[in-house]
């Protein structure tokens, strides 16, 4: 299958790549661009470990084709911290022990950031439903919910 050139922006950087028409964005990120922070847990959109945003919209990158992101703005976990400064969500995930093995963590952080951009004061239930597409097998989710809420409080300037 012949490859197609694609121009896009990832975490603010201009990026050009070639990919085949059937190649998922996740494979492009991981195999062609060396951005392995997004993980493949299922390849079928069930686990959310590959979550990224495309033009501000939260997607499973395993269900988006590489050729679909021509001209788009993509944000991945690699763009979440600024230099040595972690995003509050990242910091609270570490402090609240919201990760054990950590393989679902990039996807959950991207999803949680997307939630807080839309809703700065979610209820626990809203957090749980928003993150229902992101599977975590280690934590039982409790500490993830706590970390999202404490990061949200900090981002609202309450701490």
């Amino acid at each position: 299958m012949k490859s197609i050139p694609v121009s896009t922006t990832i975490n603010g950087d201009p990026v050009e790549f070639l990919c085949t028409p059937d190649e998922p964005l996740l494979d492009v990120l991981r195999n062609r661009l060396g951005l392995t922070g997004a993980k493949e847990g299922c390849g079928t959109g069930d686990c959310g470990a590959c979550s990224v945003t495309v033009n501000g919209r939260l997607v499973c990158s395993c269900l988006v084709l590489g050729v679909e992101v021509e001209g788009a703005q993509i944000e991945t976990i690699e763009g979440m911290a600024h230099g040595e400064t972690l995003h509050p969500l990242q910091r609270h995930f570490i402090e609240k022990a919201a990760l054990q093995c950590g393989v679902c963590t990039p996807g959950i952080l991207v999803a949680a950031k997307s939630l807080l951009e839309k809703n700065a004061s979610p209820t626990d239930e809203e957090v749980r439903y928003w993150l229902a597409g992101n599977l975590c097998r280690c934590t039982g989710y409790d500490k993830i919910i706590e970390a999202v809420q404490s990061a949200a409080a900090e981002m609202r300037g309450e701490v």
């Binding site: 993980k39 493949e40 847990g41 079928t44 979440m80 990242q90 570490i94 229902a132 975590c136 500490k143």
Partner: protein, 745 residues
């Protein structure tokens, strides 16, 4: 290495610092199995059997081999015969030889320049199968005329005349059952079924192998034990262990499922044949079909009880199947079933039978949840019938120090009573319930293990310390190990870095399993630190010109022991380290040991559910876990183990099972149909950590990781049964099963 002191005051142990791998894991930098690459690397793919049971007549790989970009093809014939039966069985799960034994059994593998070419080449391989009759249910597999999965695998103590699928039997217990049942006012006997649950780790099995022309090889993989990977892969490849270096990547969950190999030997053989590095990553479909879930089980349980709730006798028959190869899990289930109770008379009889399913691999407290589920469900039903309080009844029968356990050992200090008391005192236990709601309680037990462990601890010249250990960190163990090193050395946690070394850097370490790491690696770390402290005390003594015996280590510094030793100000670790090059050279301590003395642990869970009588859908509305952790080294991570284990058990109780069709094929090989709990399914999981010190560890640490998956099957069952007013005897309790019970069949 016995407990130092029950009332020792800890400075670092018991605090909750950030984990050393935290930043890498929240920024996407941490490298997991599928993230490792090498120059010139090929991509592998595996062809799998669509049949549950068939003879392989022929495999024609010629068309695949002729495809441009295909660099190697591997089938079972490429692997040498292996003498060790355990390794041979593992090898056959990685690549079939003469027969395929389950849907998804690997038949051939390809390495090619791109994933697309590898997938296309897989489709070009022609396999001729002669299908054989199959069996996927343990009860059916034990029938005398069942299709035989493997011949000649029964152990010597299995009675003659049974199906050849029956490979093992075991019996445990003590006391006079007949006399016990005679004393009972109520005797109930019930049959239970437990589906096979998968560990459900989010990271699919993955590895990257590089085999060099001179016979040396490097392997990177996500595993719970790279030393075991080296042992089994070198045997299967016919190479010396010293020539295979295995490096464990970060691991994206294991829960027992990554204590063996599936893709690693195949990648090594593809690399050997192609002369290039090969990456092999499973799809989720492959993970479900062809890695090991736990056993599925069928259980008959009979208990006798007096009117006031004293258990007089218990008798249980367990039938487990660990798939197409013999499995020893039945022995653990049969020992654990009644272990939480003081049983005047008890017998557990276990059977294992082969079925056309993938080879079972350990899943968190392997074998215990299935057996304990039956006991805890039946006790609850008897409490209902006799009008007894389920906590008081359990307290009345609880095992305690001096109790002869159901597996023959007399218990030392254990936490069963304390854990029950904690559950009873928790506000959850007395909170009101609404309509269609029910509350269940259940206890659980697990042994915990120690095992082979090596730790090296180096004192750096700047006054910090590096700890080198050999157990992949699946839940924060590097933090816990650093905490124990900090405690012993008397320097801050942040001055210590713990790393997991490859197989060439340390002696053998058993797998990260059996709830062993914080206990056993912690113990070896403490001993390694004490060895380094001995060297530092010697150096201080030499600098002061006094006897080495006259120096002791207090709060991170060498000090003269008593007024007769001489008057010198304390010499800190940093001061001794700074002068180490001048006083004899670098300072280190190490310790190698096969640890025993892991203390057993008990947990009690309380579960509230609301069952929709129209649909049978169950919502868990409140959940509390109480567990004995010995000394909790990093209490937040201990809570995480308790919460995570409980939620895995909740998933098993309500949703998770392998569903095989009449055609013997797995029908739900994906997260959509094999549904693990998601965030919106769950309430907060409340935790109560009890600390009953383990006499077998200097700080009193017990393993905590496995016990929390043991009680939930029964805790949820008891809650659902009370909510709907009828007893449930099968997990998972899917909505259709609950509706069938509500409607009375």
């Amino acid at each position: 290495m016995a407990l130092d002191d029950q009332k020792r005051a800890f400075k670092y142990v018991g605090t909750t610092p950030n984990r050393p791998d935290g930043v890498d894991k929240v920024t996407g930098k941490a490298q997991y199995g599928a993230d490792i690459t090498a120059p010139g690397m090929l991509m592998g793919a595996v062809l799998r059997s669509p049949h549950p049971h068939a003879r392989i007549v022929s495999i024609d790989t010629s068309a695949a081999e002729a495809m441009p970009g295909v660099r190697a093809v591997v089938t079972g014939k490429d692997f040498p015969a292996v003498e060790d039966q355990g390794f041979a069985d593992i090898g056959e799960t990685c690549m079939a030889r003469d027969k395929v034994l389950y849907d998804g059994h690997p038949v051939a593998a390809i390495a090619a320049t791109t994933p697309a070419i590898a997938k296309a080449a897989i489709r070009a391989i022609k396999v001729e199968y002669a299908p054989l009759p199959h069996v996927t249910d343990v009860d059916e597999a034990m029938l005398p005329d069942a299709p035989v999965v493997l011949e000649g695998r029964a152990l010597e103590h299995v009675p003659a005349g049974m199906s050849q699928n029956v490979t093992n039997t075991c019996e445990f217990g003590h006391g006079d059952l007949e006399a016990g049942f005679t004393k009972a006012d109520l005797i109930l006997e019930r049959s239970f079924k437990v589906g096979a649950a998968h560990q459900g780790y989010i990271e699919p099995n993955a590895c990257m192998a590089s085999y060099a022309a001179d016979g040396r090889a490097d392997l990177y993989c996500c595993t719970q034990g790279h030393f075991f990977v080296r042992a089994v892969c070198s045997a299967l490849m016919g190479m010396e262990a010293s020539q295979l270096r295995v490096t464990a990547s970060e691991i994206g969950g294991g829960f027992g499922g990554k204590t063996t190999v599936f893709v690693e030997p195949v990648a090594l053989m593809l690399s050997k044949k192609s002369g290039r590095p090969v990456k092999l990553v499973m799809t989720r479909d492959e993970v479900f079909k062809a890695t090991g879930p736990t056993v599925h089980a069928s259980v008959d349980c009979k208990i006798g009880m007096t009117k006031d709730g004293r258990i007089t006798a218990g008798d249980m028959t367990l039938r487990y199947s660990g798939g197409a190869w013999p499995s020893g899990t039945i022995e653990m289930g049969a020992q654990a079933g009644f272990a939480a109770y003081d049983m005047p008379a008890v017998r557990t009889l276990g059977w294992t039978a082969l079925t056309n399913r993938p080879k079972e691999i350990s899943y968190r407290a392997p074998g215990a949840p299935q057996a304990v589920y039956a006991v805890e469900s039946l006790i609850d039903e008897m409490c209902q019938q006799l009008g007894l309080d389920p906590v008081e009844t359990r307290l009345k029968n609880a095992a305690r120090k001096g109790t002869l356990s159901s597996y023959g050992v007399t218990f030392d200090d254990i936490g069963m009573v304390a854990t029950l008391e904690a559950a009873k005192a928790h506000p959850h236990w007395s909170a009101p319930l609404g309509p269609n709601q029910g509350r269940g309680i259940a206890a659980g037990f697990w042994f915990n293990f120690g095992g082979n462990t090596c730790v090296s601890l180096n004192i750096n010249a700047d006054g910090t310390a590096s700890v080198t250990e050999g157990n992949p960190d699946i839940g924060g163990s590097r933090a816990s190990i650093s905490l124990m090193a900090a405690e012993e050395l008397g320097i801050p946690y942040d001055n210590i870095r713990t790393i997991v070394a490859d197989t060439a850097s340390l002696g053998y370490n058993d797998n990260t399993d059996g709830s062993r790491v914080t206990f056993a690696v912690g113990l070896a770390t403490i001993k390694a630190a004490r060895a380094a402290i001995k060297v530092m005390c010697d150096r201080a003594a030499a600098m002061w010109g006094i006897d080495a015996e006259a120096v002791e280590w207090i709060d991170g510094a060498a000090v003269p022991a008593g007024p007769n030793a001489g008057k010198f100000p304390p010499m800190s670790l940093a001061e001794i380290a700074a002068m180490s090059f001048q006083t004899g050279g670098p300072i280190a301590g190490h310790h190698e040991v096969n640890v025993d003395g892991a203390g057993v642990s008990f947990g009690v869970h309380i579960c509230d559910v609301e069952v929709d009588p129209e649909t049978g859908h169950t919502l868990v509305t409140r959940y509390t876990v109480a567990q004995d952790a010995g000394k909790a080294v990093h209490p937040t991570y201990v809570e995480g183990q308790m919460q995570g284990g409980a939620v895995q058990g909740i998933g098993w109780a309500l949703n998770e099972e392998y569903i095989y069709g009449r055609d013997g094929r797995l029908q739900n090989a994906g997260f959509l149909d094999y549904r693990i709990p998601v965030a919106s399914d769950l309430p907060k999981i409340d935790t109560v950590i009890l600390e009953i010190p383990n006499p077998g560890h200097p700080y009193g640490v017990r393993g905590v990781g496995e016990t929390p998956i043991v009680p939930p099957l029964a805790a949820v069952t008891n809650a659902v049964s009370r909510a709907i007013g009828k007893r449930m005897y099968q997990v998972p309790m899917s909505p259709p099963r609950i509706m069938t019970t509500i409607k009375g069949k």
